[in-house]
């Protein structure tokens, strides 16, 4: 319950802020035009916050949300407009749509359901294509969706009233009073902030930051993306219904390119990764655009300010607001592509401001006693990349409580072997099997997130943290996955792990602000939070000085004991390997050429030859 206090307080403050600005403007300006502008701003805020839920949490750009808005808008209009008003326009509508009617709240509900159902279908496609070929393909699908809805709205005049006429409410039937708008605005802010802090929202953000690392932590980003999409479309649908109700009619052009453009500029200028940013963007763009509109239509006198004598009349014309929007978009992309606020969020700021400094939790005791007897085996692994055989019958085995090293010269296939074990590279042939907490499982060619849930969790050679999430959030994300997929009777909390990694004082900093050694320790803590059976570490000391890598020996051992995991470690640093490993495999040219204790391996002439090369023509 306590976790929800700050998002709700944040939503309340944002609500008070935007409503306050709107009412202030109304009081100063007076008149019905100002009133309409402010109402439109509130409704735009609902829609932009709705879009932010998707774009901000998943990082996938959608041009299609206004398409969903159009679907919702028509669904709302079809049910909310009195049959007598529809009779003239769409008397021939199929399914008896000309005769249906519902109260306004019910019509909004129908609009939400219809658009969410369609979003669910589209969402399956987005998830599929996004997973396979990155976000650009998903973006294009959403763009195509926008055009499909527009074409259908234009052409299916039996239902939509066609291009020009559209559907119109009777006189006096439209929105009067703002109670509904206020309610929806507050609700959308609260939903957006609560979702951003929820488990699902945080998992989605992990996927946004680094999809590959997210999958390696047992997250299936497709699921989180779909949840974000549905929630986002529901909020947008409410906003769209209100927009139709406020205007009193709907035509295809109302929810098309221009409106997509307006809402996207608002979101991008304010900061797409933050709900606060979305609100700030809506307010800023609304007033800048209004200023431009007045300059364009009224010329030199705006808000009582005279600009006589300035030879700028060629600028102050129709079209000026559009130019301003375009310049805002291009300007922000060039100079500040993450928008005014980037990912600064009001509720987070409140939380930091009003929670007293916590003591670092006591370091947890090492996992002891119940020595697990997990086994990891990879056998006869062959991997061909095109014509190149990266692994040629490689094998390795590890059991819990053991630290196993993989060494070998550059290009020997160490990382490829770890990639095969963790599901990132499908082997041409061979077997990967785990006998762990969840019994005996064949993991050959399993999806990475399934491998992680089964208990094999890895780190990466080139550090893949969720860089704009905080240190604590990085670890919490794994903990969330562990809670649902790897329950353990002896759970080490995220905060304890952060403390154990020596990062307690940095817990609220972004991961990208950490120095190198701390980043490595965070990556390890994040992997340990998964309650793994085995940790697979790819070059945990690369880029470290000799003394730093010696410290890593204790650190890796400590973390592994804390969560009771076995360790498989790749490293080039033999000093580190000798210090930490119980047993070592040496790979060369894709096969194991030696196996033994670190001392045996170091003395093995085959190993020395693999590392140093042999003299000519052996």
């Amino acid at each position: 319950m306590k976790a929800r206090v700050f998002p709700l307080a944040g939503a309340a403050l944002l609500f008070v802020g935007i409503v306050g600005v709107g009412l202030l403007f109304e009081t100063i300006q007076g008149g019905s035009a100002a009133e309409r502008l402010v109402t439109a701003m509130f409704i735009n805020a609902i829609i932009v916050v709705g879009i932010q839920i998707y774009i901000g949490n998943t990082g996938v750009f959608s041009f299609g949300h206004i398409g969903f808005a159009a679907i919702a808008g028509y669904a709302f209009a079809l049910f909310a407009i009195d049959p007598s008003d529809k009779a003239g326009r769409i008397a021939d509508a199929p399914f008896g749509l000309a005769d249906v009617s519902a109260s306004v709240p019910v019509a909004v509900l129908i609009a939400v359901v219809v658009s969410v159902v369609i979003a669910a279908i589209v969402g399956i496609g987005l998830a599929r294509s996004g997973a396979q070929s990155g976000a650009i393909a998903a973006t294009v699908i959403t763009l195509a969706l926008l055009f499909v809805t527009h074409e259908v709205a234009r052409s299916w005049s039996d239902v939509t009233g066609g291009e020009r006429a559209g559907l119109t409410f009777g006189i006096g039937e439209t929105l009067d009073g703002r109670v509904a708008v206020y309610g929806a605005l507050f609700a959308s802010l609260a939903i957006a902030l609560l979702f951003a802090r929820s488990g699902s929202g945080r998992l989605a953000k992990a996927g946004r930051e680094d999809a590959l690392a997210a999958r390696a932590m047992g997250i299936d980003p497709r699921v989180q993306q779909t949840i974000a999409l549905l929630l986002s479309v529901a909020v947008v649908a409410v906003g769209a219904s209100l927009r139709v109700y406020e205007v009193g009619s709907i035509q295809p052009g109302q929810f098309f390119f221009d409106y997509t453009l307006l809402t996207l500029v608002m979101l991008v200028v304010g900061g797409r990764n933050s709900v606060t940013g979305a609100v700030v963007g809506v307010v800023t763009i609304t007033f800048v655009r209004e200023l431009a509109r007045r300059l364009g239509s009224e010329g030199f006198e705006v808000f009582g300010l005279g600009l006589d004598g300035v030879p700028l009349d060629w600028v102050f014309r129709e079209g000026l607001p559009r130019v301003v929007l375009g310049l805002a978009m291009v300007g922000f992309m060039i100079w500040r592509s993450k928008g005014m606020l980037d990912d600064w969020e009001l509720d987070e700021w409140l939380r930091r401001r009003f929670t007293s400094d916590q003591e670092a939790p006591m370091p947890a005791e090492a996992h002891s006693g119940t020595a697990a007897s997990n086994q990891l085996v990879a056998r006869d692994v062959i991997v061909d990349f095109g014509g190149f055989r990266a692994l040629n019958g490689a094998e390795m085995a590890a059991s819990s409580g053991e630290v196993v090293g993989l060494i070998g010269p550059n290009g020997a296939g160490k990382t490829t072997l770890v990639n095969v074990i963790t599901g990132m590279v499908p082997p041409t042939s061979g077997v990967v099997a785990l006998d762990g907490q969840q019994g005996e499982i064949d993991l050959t060619s399993a999806a990475p997130y399934k491998v992680a849930r089964a208990g094999l969790v890895r780190t990466f050679q080139n550090l893949r943290l969720f860089s704009s999430l905080t240190v604590l959030e990085n670890v919490e994300v794994s903990k969330l996955v562990a809670e649902s997929h790897r329950p353990s009777e002896r759970d080490v909390g995220a905060e304890e792990l952060v403390a154990a990694a020596g990062l307690w004082e940095h817990r609220d900093r972004r991961a990208s602000e950490l120095d190198y050694g701390n980043s490595r320790r965070l990556e390890l803590a994040r992997a340990a939070a998964m309650n793994p059976d085995f940790l697979l570490l790819d070059e945990p000391t690369s880029g470290m000085s000799d003394s730093e890598s010696l410290n890593m020996v204790e650190h890796v051992r400590g973390m592994a004991e804390l969560v009771g995991a076995g360790v498989v470690v790749i490293d080039h640093d033999l000093q580190f390997i000798v210090g930490i490993c119980d047993r070592v495999y040496c790979l060369d040219q894709g096969s194991v050429i030696a196996e033994g204790t670190p001392d045996e391996i170091q003395a093995d002439p085959a190993v020395q030859a693999a590392y140093l090369g042999s003299a000519a023509n052996t």
């Binding site: 010269p409 950490l514 190198y516 880029g543 080039h572 640093d573 033999l574 000093q575 020395q608 590392y611």
Partner: protein, 237 residues
């Protein structure tokens, strides 16, 4: 001195991949750069070639300060790099790859250079119009080297030319390095095959964790029996 690298430091974000490295290359020398994975050898070559911007330090080529120049400007100055993993253009034919290598050479002089490469790399001559993606590993490596030679560089740098090659092809690559040296070219070669490299190098530098730990002539270093320790285990040098 042809190339003088002075106190060069290069960072990836907060990671110093190269810490204050200095080295010199004289005209006609064959220099070996050896050291374990992650020692900063590739970073060093990439920084000299202009692909990475150094944080501090300077690079001088033929006496002129060229620190931080773009890669195409470095190539025009006379420094060519055969990059790690070869990076040949797999969708282009062999001869097109070579022509790209000679893009800075006036068109008239390019054809004779192609003939020269055909002579130096007989395996490539038979595959002139084959898509480079269909070459074997050894052929691809030779193409990568030939492509770099097309710009008539005064300094040729190679990054792990024997990586991923079968032993017999490693021989071919080393023979080629020696041949190029004998032609009077100046070469800097990063190699994992330290023993072979030290056999042929005039001088060599050993890097570890981004720092220079030892330098000496190839023969001196090759004779040290603690080389393995120095090289991988980081014992005192």
């Amino acid at each position: 001195m042809l190339l003088e690298v002075d106190n060069l430091t290069t960072q990836y974000g907060s990671i110093a991949a190269l810490r204050s490295v200095s080295l010199t290359v004289a005209e006609g020398e064959l220099i070996g750069l050896i050291g374990p994975n992650g020692a900063g050898k590739t970073t060093l070559l990439n920084t000299v070639a202009g692909l990475l911007e150094p944080a501090t330090g300077s690079v001088r080529f033929k006496g002129e300060d060229v620190t931080g120049r773009a890669p195409d400007a470095m190539l025009r100055a006379g420094v060519a790099l055969v990059p790690e993993h070869r990076r040949i253009f797999v969708d282009l034919t062999v001869v097109e790859n070579l022509r790209i290598g000679g893009v800075t050479v006036p068109a008239k002089e390019r054809e004779p250079l192609l003939d020269e490469m055909a002579e130096l790399f007989p395996v490539l001559r038979d595959k002139w119009t084959t898509q480079a993606g269909f070459l074997s590993g050894g052929e691809a490596q030779q193409l990568a080297i030939a492509r770099a030679l097309m710009s008539r560089p005064q300094l040729l740098m190679m990054d792990e030319p024997s990586l991923g090659l079968a032993p017999i092809l490693v021989d071919v690559v080393f023979d080629l390095i020696v041949k190029l040296r004998d032609q009077g070219r100046t070469l800097v070669v990063v190699e994992q095959n330290a023993a072979r490299m030290l056999e042929v190098a005039d001088r060599a530098y050993v890097l570890r964790s981004g720092e220079l730990v030892v330098e000496g002539t190839g023969a001196e270093l090759g004779a040290r029996d603690d080389l393995f320790k120095t090289f991988v285990a980081g014992g005192d040098a």
